[in-house]
């Protein structure tokens, strides 16, 4: 009996070892992430039901401006799912390792991918085994003291194979609760603002390289034994560094994939078109900049179109909306108390007074409310 059990274990081991690692597509775009952090798409929680800590989320993209930034956010709070994911520069596929903490958010609320100035083509999840690691620096280990004074000097020869899309994995030990790393170029300047005291813990931290800006800084050091990179920080020991690169295959099964909504080009006078849900928990709001209002006059009106949410009404929520200024969230007209428009049809026609007109031409507005889906906002001349 014991012998049979060993055979089963060996067969299983061989079976799993021979399975190719697979990258699974969970979202197909395109989804344009335009200027000003206004655009995002939320990956649905179902995609993360079978994901594991250590899996890699990858966002393939194009049309990225040189200054484009990405973000992985909690759609409930709109904060980064971890401090280093609040914003980061991108120029190529960008990735995130799913941790238990991130998975807890993802399974409850999903994950919002945001930022500005790029277009999402596809989002995938792949197993950690899809990535191979090549150790490039193995010490001697450096203990990062509390005063941030210690640093490890990494020669250029260790980093010569590093390229956009790779991850640089710091293998660490003895991490204190407040441990943080600082990744610098040879002139002691941080490689990016996000790497100035990035929290680290467990046994490793992986920095995925989304654009070539940090690589250019590293290359300035030259070759060979020249110090190209300095890794400092506090409260941990740096033991080794590896370069992590994707080697897995891509699944062609798109049966459970999420598709981005069809993209729409606003017509003249349209300020918003689409479906934006304003749930009962008051978390829905929409910001409009002052740009489309520059020529507006008191003869213009806003036509706000919506559909009511039957579930919200059934739950006793009174569908309503309010227009606020884009600075303090005060009432757009300057009144002390917000004015609420009760919703029971399909449209609200908003007429500007002098204060509201000045406000929207200066800073734009915020539309907030509950219990409806916003479908369109138009700026129309009433004459």
């Amino acid at each position: 009996m014991k012998g049979n059990r060993i055979i089963v274990v060996v067969l299983c081991t061989l079976f799993f070892a021979s399975l190719p690692a697979v990258e699974r597509t969970i979202l197909i775009g395109p989804k344009t992430i335009g200027k000003a952090w206004k655009d995002n798409i939320v990956l649905e929680p179902r995609h993360f039901a079978s994901a594991h800590a250590g899996d890699i989320l990858t966002v393939y993209n194009d049309n990225a401006k040189r200054t484009a930034q990405g973000a992985f956010q909690n759609p409930k709070t709109w904060q980064g799912v971890a401090p280093e994911y609040g914003y980061f520069g991108i120029n190529g596929p960008f990735r995130m390792t799913l941790t238990e903490d991130i998975l807890a958010i993802a399974r409850e609320h999903g994950i919002a991918i945001g930022g500005h100035d790029y277009r999402i083509l596809q989002v995938t999840i792949s197993d950690a085994a899809d990535y191979q690691e090549q150790m490039v620096w193995t010490g001697p280990a450096v203990m990062m003291k509390d005063d941030w004074s210690a640093n490890a000097e990494i020669p250029a020869s260790c980093l010569k194979d590093l390229r956009v899309g790779d991850g640089l994995r710091l293998h660490i030990s003895k991490a204190k609760p407040n441990a943080a790393a600082k990744l610098m170029d040879f002139t002691w300047n941080v490689l990016s603002p996000a790497l100035d005291g990035v929290p680290v813990g467990g046994d490793s931290y992986t920095w995925y390289i989304y654009d070539d800006a940090p690589l250019l800084k590293l290359a300035l050091a030259g070759y060979g034994t020249n110090v190209a990179m300095r890794i400092g920080g506090t409260g941990y020991r740096l033991d080794a560094i590896g370069i992590v690169r994707q080697v897995g295959e891509v699944s062609e099964d798109y049966s459970a994939v999420q598709r981005a909504p069809r993209e729409y080009v606003l017509r003249a006078g349209e300020l918003f078109h689409g479906e934006k849900y304003f749930p009962a928990d008051w978390s829905g709001n929409l910001r409009l900049t002052a740009a489309p209002f520059q020529q507006a006059t008191e003869n213009d009106v806003l036509l706000i179109s919506y559909t009511l949410d039957p579930a919200a009404k059934a739950a006793g929520v009174t569908p309503q909306l309010s227009l606020r200024n884009n600075r303090t969230w005060g009432e757009l007209t300057g009144a002390a108390e917000p004015i609420w428009y009760k919703l029971d049809g399909t449209d609200v026609v908003y007429m500007f007074d002098a204060v509201a007109l000045d406000e929207v031409k200066t800073r734009g507005l915020i539309l907030t409310g509950v219990g409806f889906t916003l479908t369109k906002i138009e700026l129309i001349s009433a004459q």
């Binding site: 941080v190 005291g197 900049t289 600075r327 800073r363």
Partner: protein, 370 residues
């Protein structure tokens, strides 16, 4: 041609009451001509001449301007020339990296003591501006920064110690000011007047909303420390170093009159705006004009912002703004060849500006300064 004729006519009728003051007429004033006077009565002849032209053109046309690509060059001006065939009238250099200047640091990567970029610009008719992202040692002892705070990459440098000559901060201030004074003095010796904009954006967004704060160390301890620092800087440069080639520009963050150092040490009130749509710009111009009726008002920094693209100059002017000059910000990535599109003000924007006939280029400025 019409603008050229008008300009000649106005030059003839302007009367200078004082070598360091001038009058302006036109849309910026109400019924009476306003007297704009340089705060330094000992201003050099070249500085007075530049000041006279600024006053003469105020309200009629704006000087076009750009900032250098980071520090000590005319890279952005070359972009404008490539796009339009015109050089901007003003190029603003930044003393941001004086700690890395080779005259004080053998490992430095630039040399502020080599005045070539400035003299090249000036000798072709350009107006020289200087600003100062005044970096001090960060808390980690290795980096240099303007950002106040407790984090390793920020600085706890306390501007209030401008009142304590025994403090390390005071000694650092004097050291840095004297270093910058050396460069400015070289310019003075070459007859170069300088539009000088130090200690900018001091109030940050502290006056904009509750919880706002200063984002540069020189504003981190509030308006009193800031004003003391401004006045010390003025005294050190003007009275101690005898620098009489400076036109002093103070930056308003709007609704921050508590931060204004005083009429006696400010020539121009500037405004930096990256929400540069024509309507809010016109409002801000009118507000500053009302608050500082005896000062020229300039759009000291502008460009596309995170939320909106800057309005075309024809629209800005058409809405009623009459800024003395504007200065668009640099795009490091564009200049490095990493981007095809200028982040702050590209070809279309600059073509509109020069085609409008409402801005002055370098060639026109050269003629005006003769």
């Amino acid at each position: 041609m019409r603008h050229h004729f008008l300009h000649q006519f106005i030059v003839l009728v302007i009367v200078f009451t004082n070598a360091a003051s001038c009058h302006a007429v036109g849309p910026v004033s109400t019924t009476e001509p306003v007297s704009y006077r340089l705060c330094n009565p000992n201003a050099t002849a070249e500085t007075q001449r530049l000041w006279a032209v600024l006053c003469q053109e105020y309200g009629k046309r704006a000087l076009s301007g750009v900032v250098a690509n980071v520090d000590w060059n005319a890279r952005e001006a070359e972009n404008v020339y490539k796009w339009t065939g015109h050089y901007p009238a003003l190029n603003v250099f930044d003393f941001i990296n004086i700690h890395a200047s080779r005259d004080v640091n053998k490992q430095g990567w630039l040399d502020y003591s080599d005045l070539t970029p400035v003299t090249d610009w000036f000798e072709t008719g350009g107006v020289v501006g200087c600003m100062w992202h005044w970096q001090v040692p960060a808390n980690n002892g290795t980096n240099w920064t303007c950002s106040p705070g407790k984090n390793p990459g920020e600085t706890s440098f306390n501007p209030a110690n401008v009142n304590d000559p025994a403090s390390d901060e005071y000694k650092r201030m004097i050291h840095d000011i004297d270093q910058v004074a050396g460069y400015l003095k070289k310019m003075q010796k070459r007859g170069i007047p300088v539009i000088w904009r130090p200690l900018h954006e001091a109030a940050g967004n502290s006056t904009e909303f509750a919880g706002g704060k200063a984002w540069f160390w020189w504003g981190a301890q509030g308006p009193d420390a800031y004003k003391a620092l401004w006045r010390m800087l003025y005294d050190r440069l003007v009275n101690y170093h005898k620098l009489n080639n400076l036109i002093w520009v103070w930056n308003s963050q709007m609704n921050d009159s508590d931060w204004y150092p005083g009429d006696d040490v400010v020539d121009v009130v500037g405004r930096d705006n990256y929400y540069a749509l024509q309507y809010p710009l016109a409002k801000e111009f009118r507000q500053l004009q009302t608050e500082y009726p005896n000062k020229l008002i300039a759009l000291a920094e502008c460009g596309n912002g995170d939320e909106v693209d800057m309005s075309l100059w024809t629209k800005i002017w058409g809405e009623g703004s009459r800024w003395s000059w504007f200065m668009t910000w640099y795009d490091y990535n564009y200049n490095a060849g990493n981007s095809d599109e200028h982040q702050f003000a590209g070809e279309q924007w600059w073509k509109d500006a020069f085609d409008s006939g409402l801005v002055i280029d370098r060639e026109q400025m050269k003629e005006l300064l003769k």
